[in-house]
């Protein structure tokens, strides 16, 4: 990574993988990597900093204006002072993937988002119980309205397959059917928008779930799944997957499972181990994680000290394949190489161009600016991003050759700013900017 030392490179990777990228000052501090991991895990103080988002000169109204829910969340990623909380909130959104395409209520989606944030670094059992009772989730997976006469299996199926155990991992179709019975009784009235639980619509009979027998209710399903031996390894690997595209080493999985179960399903000890483990910092000079679109965009804004003043980010994120509050399905977003389709990559390039638009006008660069200075100015603007040795060399070469022999007055006026526009564009959107 960019850092001159391994420690600095680890810090930069931590910011990208456990947050939404560093602001330039985040890389200049004197904190050690261990200090930073501790800060990430123990956030204190104000949650946001910087100017509030405004579009067309007005504050956001996310519930009342289409697309502004996306801006609202993007703003939290950009202005957030608790990077790991923000990143885990989004990771849990991917894990408990719920889309407003079916829910159709921004307020419910934002309420779910607040729940995910509240338990972002907290207890998974508490989070899972909250998700069972969450309004957006109840609409999304048809839990609301599931009655003893017609139990709906959608939530039970995904609860085992995606949220707690993993596909075909220690449960049967019968377990799903029985869990669906235990989950009956939740109600939702569309007119009053009130959620509730009607004992008369709950199946109070005996159920057999995951080898246990009892008159189980909705929240018992959470405990039964979490106590199953397949849960902890599944969840720990899922969490690891949000930080690294590589398979976790078996000895780390053992440590994670042990920390998770011994703490009673606490997430913070798991995160602490992941963020401190050498496996996360393998091959710092060859980063292999593709930045998810929200990380790419929020990171670019943080790197350049830019805040939300336009709603263009909504359609750009859409075109890149990741619109917060609108995951493609209950499995969430596909990760890594899936982000780099031709059209998505083109949109990443366009997003950087949009940010740079008119940033340097013709005539704005003095004729005595050396190639080294031009590159240094561009790197400073772009937040000192990491570039590989090959890219660094190519940029230095371009900085020299692009204006060589162009010393006529009109050429200085046009080509010298053009050089820095190109350098900034490549630093923000070139191949190296897509990985972390």
């Amino acid at each position: 990574m960019a850092g001159a030392t391994r420690e600095a490179a680890m810090i930069e990777r931590l910011w990208w993988r456990a947050g939404f990228g560093p602001r330039p000052r985040d890389l200049r501090g004197k904190r050690t990597h261990a200090d930073l991991v501790h800060e990430f895990l123990h956030p204190r103080g104000a949650t946001l900093e910087g100017p509030e988002p405004r579009v067309d000169g007005r504050p956001l109204s996310p519930a009342n204006q289409y697309g502004q829910d996306v801006l609202w969340w993007l703003d939290r990623m950009v202005r957030g002072r608790h990077p790991l909380v923000e990143r885990m909130t989004f990771n849990w959104h991917d894990h408990w993937a719920t889309s407003n395409d079916k829910v159709g209520d921004v307020k419910l989606m934002m309420r779910q988002q607040r729940t995910l944030r509240r338990y972002a670094l907290g207890n998974f059992r508490t989070l899972a119980r909250a998700m069972v009772r969450d309004g957006a989730m109840q609409i999304w997976l048809d839990l609301a309205g599931s009655s003893d006469e017609a139990p709906n299996e959608n939530f039970a199926r995904e609860f085992f397959e995606l949220f707690t155990l993993g596909a075909n991992n220690g449960y049967t179709e019968k377990d799903i059917r029985e869990a669906a019975r235990a989950l009956t009784g939740f109600t939702f009235d569309y007119d009053s928008k009130r959620f509730g639980f009607d004992p008369k619509q709950h199946d109070g009979g005996t159920k057999h779930i995951l080898g246990r027998r009892g008159r189980f209710g909705p929240l018992d399903v959470v405990d039964l799944a979490l106590e199953n031996r397949h849960h902890a390894p599944y969840l720990c690997k899922q969490v690891w997957g949000y930080f690294s595209p590589r398979t976790p080493p078996p000895r780390l999985v053992k440590q994670l499972v042990s920390a998770y179960t011994q703490s009673g399903y606490e997430i913070a000890p798991v995160l602490s181990l992941i963020l401190s483990d050498g496996a996360l910092y393998a091959d710092l000079e060859e980063p292999d994680m593709i930045k998810p679109p929200v990380v790419y965009v929020a990171g670019m804004l943080r790197q350049t000290g830019t805040y939300i003043t336009t709603d263009d980010w909504v359609w750009m994120l859409d075109q890149m394949g990741q619109r917060p509050f609108y995951p493609p399905n209950v499995s969430g977003w596909e990760q890594n190489e899936a982000w780099l389709s031709t059209s998505a990559l083109r949109m990443r390039f366009q997003a950087a161009a949009s940010l740079l638009h008119d940033a340097i006008e013709d005539g704005a660069i003095p004729a005595d600016r050396s190639p080294e200075q031009a590159l240094e100015h561009s790197r400073t603007y772009a937040g000192e991003p990491w570039t590989s040795k090959a890219t660094s060399s190519a940029l230095a070469s371009y900085s020299r050759l692009s204006v060589a022999g162009r010393d006529e007055k009109w050429e200085v006026k046009h080509y010298w700013p053009e050089r820095e526009r190109v350098l900034r564009q490549v630093l923000l959107a070139g191949p190296d900017a897509q990985v972390c």
Binding site: N64, Q65, Y66, N100, D105, V106, K107, Y190
Partner: protein, 111 residues
């Protein structure tokens, strides 16, 4: 001597409302609004076509998004006086099936 007061004379920005349509629900982001210009958007989350129309207290449709196809977004702009309005989907029997929501428009404070 008269001193101009642009803040007092400028008209307030439009009030925004976002509604989602599905079969056969119409969920609106607000149940009340101040009088003035309303800009309403309809996101069609359903599989059928839908629209969003505003019925005034006298029962007349005064604005509509026109037909909004599955997955699409429609928009209308209308000036509303105080009163009880109904937001509806006017297609087929969708209103009778439940696609309606009440919007109470109140006089602006100081107006």
């Amino acid at each position: 001597m008269l001193v101009s007061t642009p803040h007092q004379s400028a008209s307030p920005p439009p009030v925004r409302l976002l509604a989602f349509a599905s079969e056969f629900h119409l969920g609106a982001s607000r149940t009340s609004a101040p009088a003035g210009v309303l800009v309403a958007e309809l996101k069609n989350n359903g599989e059928d076509d839908h629209d969003l129309a505003v019925r005034n207290p006298r029962g007349r449709i005064i604005a509509s998004t026109g037909v909004v196809r599955h997955g699409a977004l429609g928009r209308l702009r209308v000036r509303l006086r105080p009163g009880r309005y109904v937001l509806v989907c006017t297609l087929a029997d969708h209103e009778a099936l439940g696609m309606r929501a009440v919007l109470v428009v109140r006089a602006r404070k100081g107006a």
